[in-house]
């Protein structure tokens, strides 16, 4: 497994602008993400944080700007291509298959890596069976890692919210991503669940060497676990740097607390 050294730039976002009709969701945003770091995107409601993730992830096509991932520059790419390149994500509003078990949900994350054809898979024959065993082994490692062994066969819809969030993370990890995008992984959690989730995020970063980009509202969490922070407000970048730098940035303070004129 990886050693914990923050490396070179792995993901470079250059001059991204995204418009929905006359609304400027993002204007001329640039920032980069280095290998193995935990990078946070923060900002008040409507600042454009989720839009930013959706651009990186290929869900939205920005009108201007380009994104470079591991030296490959792309402008128009769909989410499947992005996933194949090694970028995975979790969702702010969980998008799990509620009726399926935890194992099956996480197995769907292996989809891109399954090579045998549909016919062989349906018969569970020869190479398909062998392949499924390999994938299942990887999924089991994730289950062990996220400490959800007790819920392997429980339908996801029956689990409490905090655990569903964990399954969502598990499914993203199943892709063996190089970069993991987390959209508000701690929204709606209580203090203890947040602590657990922070622990898991740091462990993912440490054990798998995964680069992490996360959006989060809880400032305490962001300041504790991130290496660097980007601050957005009304679609513009107003701050970028270590948690310490961002905390002392005048513009950031006024965006969050308001200013007196």
């Amino acid at each position: 497994m990886s050693t914990q050294k923050i490396g070179d730039v792995i993901l470079d976002v250059e001059n991204i602008s995204l418009r929905f009709g006359g609304v400027n969701a993002l204007s001329n945003i640039s920032f980069n993400v280095r290998e193995h770091e935990v990078r946070a995107i923060i900002g008040p409601n409507g600042a454009g944080k989720s839009s930013m993730l959706n651009c990186i992830n290929g869900v939205y096509q920005p009108q201007e700007g380009q994104i470079t991932f591991r030296g490959q520059t792309f402008k128009h790419m769909n989410s499947r291509q992005v996933a194949e390149m090694g970028i995975a994500r979790t969702f702010q509003n969980l998008a799990l298959f509620k009726g399926m078990s935890v194992i099956d949900n996480i197995m769907t994350g292996r989809n891109l890596r399954i090579k045998s054809n549909l016919f062989l898979q349906a018969l569970r024959f020869g190479p398909a069976e062998r392949e499924e065993c390999e994938h299942r082994e990887y999924v089991e490692q994730i289950i062990d890692f996220l400490e959800i062994q007790a819920f392997r066969k429980t339908p996801v819809g029956q689990l409490p919210y905090g655990l569903q969030k964990r399954v969502d993370l598990g499914r993203a990890l199943a892709m063996e991503p190089q970069v993991l995008l987390l959209d508000e992984p701690m929204a709606g959690m209580n203090m203890e669940e947040k602590q657990d989730m922070s622990r898991f995020i740091l462990d993912v970063n440490e054990e798998f060497g995964t680069t992490i980009v996360l959006i989060e509202h809880d400032m305490g969490v962001v300041m504790d676990i991130s290496d660097r922070v980007v601050v957005l407000d009304y679609g513009k970048k107003i701050g970028d740097g270590t948690p310490e730098e961002v905390r002392n940035n005048e513009e950031v303070i006024s965006a969050y607390l308001g200013t007196s004129h």
Partner: protein, 648 residues
């Protein structure tokens, strides 16, 4: 023949190398560790430990849950003649300081990051700790303390050592004598520091094999190890007896998966304290109440039958033809599926111990065909003192003295035990040792009890709590408060009870109702109430509790020695007894003396034959504020029964 732990391991590895020794779940599948693989692992760990400087006679702490590699570690330490000291994995760091310093421990093998953090936190108080080996590397990658070693690395070092010195560990094992110290267990002292109970290979293994012979355990038996290994009970069941018999120990994936693992493994030999059995029963009952009407009817029909004939069947008595057929049908429709659901389909022998078990709870399991029995023992006696033979299990006794045990009663009614399984001493504590161990080898249990007509031991109470009735109808009779309180607490409506009677002319009791159970009952009776205090003083509730008290009295009247402990008056307290108010200990045991002082007005009222009494008490809220609760409580009489002489 007398043996040692590592000697037994090597014997199993030699005689049946491929037989399973342990199983643990990995990748969602049970992975088997054979005796030969285990022996190899133990040899490697022992080699690495020797290189790391562990000497014969040194102590070593092991902290963690039931993991094969931690069990292998204990065996490895014993192979070198060192002494493993298992500590509770949920103990706070500060609680580990005394044992570590008391036994001058330099070497620790722990499960995971949590335990490593705990030891690193107390390093200033325990500077002698030189090496911490951890089993699970997760989260520990960034730790750079020189004293930390991963078990994986440790095994590699050990393998290299074994290759260079293939006969070294075997030679060390040969030097181990059965009379050597094998392990040390710290007992949780309620007052003062914990005491290290020193056991030899012989004392532990002797008891383990006596228990195994008693229940005819075989290498084909299966056990699920899910209680803390620092507790002597778990240590005997999944370590000493495991090696003595050679059965299979299964380690659950995590504490959360125990019920699932129980179903998957289907143990044949099972052990749990009463609260586990109670929890299982409650979950079954709740799910049955939610089931469809037909299923519910069927369940209750067959459970009534089981209640009537089940215990007799378990005691080996023949049922009538019709009952037998009826029970067989019930077994097919209800009892079998229920046992399967509880993970007890294959249970041949199940034990409960540690505290008194309610008769209803006890007979529930026996009536559905689980051979649940009780045993009596403690850390100091290496568990096995008394065991209930098959077909002779009773709810209120703990069985007959097992092989090698002598029991006698002291003048004060204390149970004294002499057996090959007694502790050698309390570590570095000759005063405490002298208090419990006489020169001629009798151990003072500090329990009061007696042998009944069938030769079964009956535990009444702690010796220091047993009193005498003075004056009145039962002048001079024995009074055992805990015994009376327990009998009341077996009713689900009674949460706590406090009995008074020592040096008084009769027994009076204060009862705490169980708010959930009584509240639920009140709703079904259409009995409106405003809150705890209101509910507790309802006439209907008093009538119901009175019925419970009188059932206890009827029960006590049949008991020759304790007929005098029948309850003549009682009251229901208006507030719940609470540790925050000092009325209970942190482990929820009633502090009788404190309560007697605090509620002296009520106690006086009970003995002065008043029918009601006003009381005002201070209460402490959880946020630290104080307030007061006042109420006028009713004091009631209960019927006393003539003592019945039972034909033996």
């Amino acid at each position: 023949m007398q043996q040692t732990f590592p000697g037994l391991l090597m014997a199993h590895a030699g005689q049946r190398p491929d037989a399973p020794a342990m199983r643990e779940k990995a990748f969602g599948i049970w992975q088997t560790l054979s005796w030969s693989k285990l022996a190899e692992m133990v040899t490697d760990i022992a080699g690495a430990m020797h290189e790391a400087g562990l000497q014969r006679g040194d102590h070593m702490v092991v902290i963690g849950s039931n993991r094969p590699r931690l069990y292998a570690t204990m065996l490895a330490a014993q192979s070198l003649g060192a002494i493993p000291v298992p500590l509770y994995q949920d103990a706070a760091g500060a609680e580990c300081v005394f044992p570590i310093n008391n036994a001058d421990i330099k070497f620790a093998v722990v499960e995971d990051q949590e335990q490593v953090d705990k030891l690193l936190d107390v390093r200033e108080q325990c500077p002698q700790i030189a090496r911490i080996v951890y089993d699970e590397p997760r989260g520990l990658r960034k730790y750079d303390e020189a004293c930390l070693t991963a078990m994986d690395d440790f095994l590699v070092q050990g393998k290299a050592f074994t290759q260079k010195n293939p006969q070294f560990v075997a030679g060390e094992i040969a030097k181990c004598q059965p009379s050597d110290v094998a392990a040390m267990f710290f007992t949780s002292g309620t007052t003062g520091n914990p005491k290290g109970v020193v056991h030899t290979h012989n004392s532990l293994l002797d008891r383990a094999s006596v228990g195994a012979r008693f229940d005819k355990l075989t290498p084909a038996d299966e056990v699920l190890a899910y209680l803390p290994p620092a507790w002597i009970g778990q240590n005997i069941f999944s370590y000493a007896q495991w090696l003595a018999v050679g059965y299979v120990v299964n380690c659950p994936e995590s504490a959360a998966t125990v019920t699932i693992d129980l179903k998957e493994v289907g143990p044949t030999y099972y052990f749990a304290p009463p609260r586990v059995f109670e929890g299982l029963l409650t979950s079954v009952m709740i799910r049955m109440e939610d089931a469809g009407a037909i299923k519910r009817k069927m369940f209750h029909h067959f459970m009534d039958l089981a209640k009537r004939v089940g215990p007799a069947k378990m005691d080996g008595k023949a049922l009538g033809f019709f009952d037998g057929l009826h029970y067989a049908l019930g077994d097919l429709m209800v009892y079998g599926p229920l046992r399967n659901n509880l993970g007890m389909s294959r249970v041949r022998v199940a034990y409960t111990a540690g505290e008194a078990i309610g008769p209803d709870l006890f007979s529930f399991y026996r009536s559905i065909g689980v051979n649940l029995k009780q045993l009596y023992g403690s850390t100091e006696t290496a568990v096995f003192v008394c065991l209930q033979p098959d077909h002779q299990a009773k709810a209120d006794t703990v069985g007959v003295p097992c092989e090698g045990v002598e029991i006698k009663l002291s003048e004060s009614g204390e149970i004294l035990v002499r057996s090959p399984g007694l502790l050698r001493e309390y570590y570095k504590n000759p005063t405490a040792t002298a208090e419990v161990l006489t020169a001629d080898g009798w151990y003072h249990t500090s329990d009061a009890g007696f042998l009944d007509a069938d030769g079964h031991l009956k535990i009444i109470d702690r010796v220091k709590d047993v009193g005498r009735i003075k004056g009145g109808r039962f002048d001079g009779a024995m009074f055992a408060p805990k015994y009376v309180e327990n009998k009341l607490k077996f009713f689900s409506f009674v949460k706590e009870a406090v009995a008074f009677g020592d040096q008084r002319d009769r027994v009076c009791v204060m009862v705490n109702i169980d708010f959930d159970a009584v509240g639920n009952w009140a709703e079904r009776q259409n009995l409106p109430y405003a809150g705890y205090t209101d509910l507790s003083q309802k006439a209907a509730v008093y009538d119901m509790i009175k019925a419970c008290v009188e059932k206890v009295n009827a029960d006590l009247s049949r008991d020759e020695m304790l007929a005098g402990s029948q309850i003549s008056r009682f009251l229901i307290l208006h507030k719940e007894l609470d540790p925050d108010d000092g009325e209970l200990t942190r482990t929820n045991k009633v502090r009788r003396g404190f309560i007697a002082d605090k509620y002296s007005a009520l106690v006086d009222g009970l003995y002065a034959d008043k029918t009601e009494q006003f009381i005002e008490t201070q209460v402490k809220f959880e946020d630290g504020r104080t307030g007061s609760v006042s109420a006028t409580l009713q004091l009631r009489d209960a019927q006393i029964f003539e003592p019945v002489k039972q034909a033996a």
